[in-house]
Structure formats: structure tokens, C-alpha cells
Amino acid sequence: MMDDLRELYQEVIFDHNRNPRNFHVMENANRTVEGFNPLCGDRLTLYLNVQADIIEDASFQGSGCAISTASVSLMTEMVKGMTEQEAQNMFKIFQKITTGKDDDVKLEELGKLQVLAGVKDYPARVKCATLAWHTLDAAIKNEEKSVSTE
């Protein structure tokens, strides 16, 4: 594969796309929100178990492209144990980096999510990467409805 494509499709992304983590329905979820990207038809259901303001558990179901599947898979791994505030901060940093408005943030702040930074060169794909986080944001705000990237 060409080098510039490797920038977008890093090995980690392939790995999470083939074997998504936390890919199951959560029986004891107390937040369930659906995310939808009308542009590409991606749909996901995000399940959270939030106790006090700690995200104790996160899982998802749904189908999407490699970028969106890897993004939600990585996100569920990352936010477990975070406070809601920490998760929302991470969303802000992630948004800034993936849209190239990153003057006041450092790539390292993203931790494992850095592998998704390549989407900033693909404006049409940014929404694939951020769908997971928009859905999480809605879940945190306790919006028990579906969200859309449009």
C-alpha cells in the first residue's frame, strides 16, 4: 500500500476494524445512544454504564467503515474509568486534532487515539472518526435519543 494511505490506515486501525473491542450489547447499561452518519450510512449504538460521574463500562454495536469502527473501538477502551468531564475533554482535543484546529493542543494528549490523526488530511472522512465521540457526548449529556453527524 502507498505511504500516504498508510498515514490514514495505520496497522492499529486495521486491527481494531478486524477485531473491534467491546463489541457487544451491554445488559446493565444505563445510557444507550444511537449515532448515525447519514453521509455513509454508518450506524452505531453506544452503551455506557455510568456510576456517579465515572464511566465504569463502555461497549458498542453497529457497522461502519474501518475508520469509524476503529475510532469507536479505541474510544470504548479509552474512556473506561474516565470521569465524564475527562471524556468530554478528550472529545474536544480529538475534534481539534482531526479538524486541524490544533494550535493549543498537542498530538501526544490523544494517547492511543493518535493513530486516527491522519484523517485531518481527509475532510470527507473526519466525520467517520468523530461519530463515536459525538455519540458519547450525547450519552454523557444524557440525551436518550439518536445523534447524527449532519
Binding site: 494511505l5 453521509l39 455513509c40 450510512g41 454508518d42 457497522s63 467503515c65 474501518a66 481527509y122
Partner: protein
Amino acid sequence: MSSLGSEGLAVGFSDRGLDVDKVRADFPILSRTVRGKPLVYLDNAATAQKPRSVIDAISHFYENDYSNIHRGVHTLSERSTVLYEEVREKVQKFINARSEKEIIFLRGTTEAINLVAQSYGGANVGPGDEILISAMEHHSNIVPWQMLCQRIGAVLKVAPINTDGELLLDEFAALLSDKTRLVSITHMSNALGSINPVEEIIGLAHQKGIPVLLDGAQAIPHMAVDVQKLDCDFYAFSGHKLYGPSGIGVLYGKSELLEAMPPYQGGGDMIRRVTFEETEYNRLPYKFEAGTPNIADTVGLGAALDYLCTIGMDSVACYEQQLLDYVTQKAMELDGLRLVGTAANKGAILSFVLDKVHPHDIGTVLDHYGIAIRAGHHCAMPVMDFFQVPATARASFAMYNTCEEVDVLMQGLKEVIEVFG
């Protein structure tokens, strides 16, 4: 012989009248590169590229003839009016309408369908009446009818398709009822490529006295269209898919119907006399053309029609059918590729999905090889639901595409399968 496929399958292509090298040379954009690779433009169902003659006609018009139409007595206004009205005549000839009055210039197919929904629908559809469409429609031929039905309390009926993406004609016929006020159906599906049996459809509807609108957005770039022979009541299409500019399209309507319809928008040009008490509407087609129209792009559309006339729509259809046969055969050789839309009568559109690879990823990888395809729902979400896919990848062909380009596409797809498989 310019258009041989790698295995010589396309022997005879250019004997059929279309010299693809010559055609390609007329489209400046086709010689550019994308990401360092020659552009392979296979998103023609979304919009087609423009020949130099269209691009030149627009700039020539702005540089030499431009003014507003139907207004001034000065030279430029008269000149612009003549050029604009000449295009109406070109369109009339191109689709073989009876009269120029039956050609209404609008922004595109979407606006044309909205006009019929609001004007014809508003005047002729009552509570409990029905509009009949099909399960393969573009959102443009669904939503205006839903809006009308909601406003009036009418019912939208949908004729089903089979798993090849073909309309079920018997079911269609059974859905024609005493309450059906209009049939609105696509001539060719943008998501599947299916070409509908429109003459039968129109025959069945007319037996019950029901008028038929054909959404010709996809069909008209691929085949000769004769509205009198079809006997359709309305025909809608967009200039931009027909090698013309965006922002200009056409509604053809039988003059008896158009005469009886109320205006669509109010404003300048569509009136004959205005007082504050009442307005006398202009005659056809001006009744439906309120305000200053898209003059320059209309002139551009005229240049596109002139260009197509030098090639001949029958040659275009014949060439593209061979291209479709070639790409279909090649695509079926790929492991894990499933065609979405396998109608017996099809235009040059290849919609497909790959095992384990989302169409969006296919689109991004192919773009790196200079190949432009569309990935998504193609503004036909109900079609995606029917085939139970979130989206498809779609390669759609034009008269300037070649077998070599099909080979490049196949190479790209092999790469996609290798990387994601």
C-alpha cells in the same frame, strides 16, 4: 482501435461510431492527474465532466453577448434573448417535444419534480388520493411527493422491486387505482442502473387516465429520449449530468397539462400584466419561469446538446453498453464482490459491495489511484434498506470512459481486497 480492453474483449468498439480518443480530447479535465495518477473519473452519475465547447460557450457568452433577457430593446438584451430561446428549441429537438412551449427551464431535476408536485399536485390531488412511485427512486422523487401528501392528506404508494433491482410490473399495475392521480417514476435508477420499462408503465397508467412523470436525470445522458414516442406527460432532467453546466435543468410537460396548471413561483417574466388587484399570467413556457433565469448556463446547455448531436445518442448508448458488459464481467471475477443491481436492462452503472470492506474505505483507497467513484447511499436510502446494505460503492460510466480505465479500476479493487481482506 483505441478502446481495447487488456484482453481485447472490446474489439469493434470504435467501429460503432464513437471515437473515444477523440471524445476524451474534448474534455480538458480528463487530462489532469489526481494524487499523481491520471484521473479515472467514474462518478458520472453524480455529475458529468464538461467538453471544452461548453466551457468556451459560457465564457464567450459572458465576454460578448451577456445581458438580461426578455426585457431590454438594446442590442445585448436582444442577443441574449435570442441565444437563450435558441436553446429551448435545441432541447425541444433533442427530446422531440411537439413544441418549444413545452420546455421549461429550471435549476434541475429536483426543481422540476417539485414544480409538478406543487403546481400539478396542488391543483389535482385531494385528500385520500394517491401518488404512485417506485422503490428505486432518488430522494428527489420521493420527498416532494411526501411533502405534498402530508400537506393534502394524500397517500404515497410505492411499487416494489425484485432482488435484481427490477420493477415488479404486475405489482405496479395492481397499485394503479381509481384514486391514483399521478405516477412519478425514474427512467433509470441512479443507485442500481436499472432502466425501467417506461413504455409499459405509461401504457398501463394511461389506460386508467393517469398521467406519468419520468425522472430522466440518469437516463438522458445514456440514451436517445423521444418524449412523444414515450408519450410521457412530464419528463425532468438536469443539465449537469448531460455534460452541461450545473444550475440548469428542464421540465418537459405536455402543453395541455401545463396550460391548465397554476404557476409555481411568482415574480418577473411569468406575468403579462400586474396590478395590485390581480395579475394576468404569461403564456407558456414563461408562466413557469419567474425571475431572471440562469442565462449563461442555459447557453452552456445548448452547447452540450450541440456536442452530443455530433456524436449521436445511439452511438453513446451502444458504446456504453459494451463498456458495461466489460466492467460487469471483470467485476464478477473478483472474489468477495457482490453487485447491487443486476437488472436485465441496465445503464452503465456498477453498484457493488465488497466483503469486509466498507464502501467509504473503497472510495478513499481508489482515490489514491486517481479513481473517482461514489461511496454512500446515493440519495436512495430506501434502496439501501431493501438490499440491506448501509451503502454501496458505485462506478458510473460516461461516453468518455474506456476499457483501460476499467482495468485500472479492477487493479485498484484488487489492492483494496488485498489490504482489507
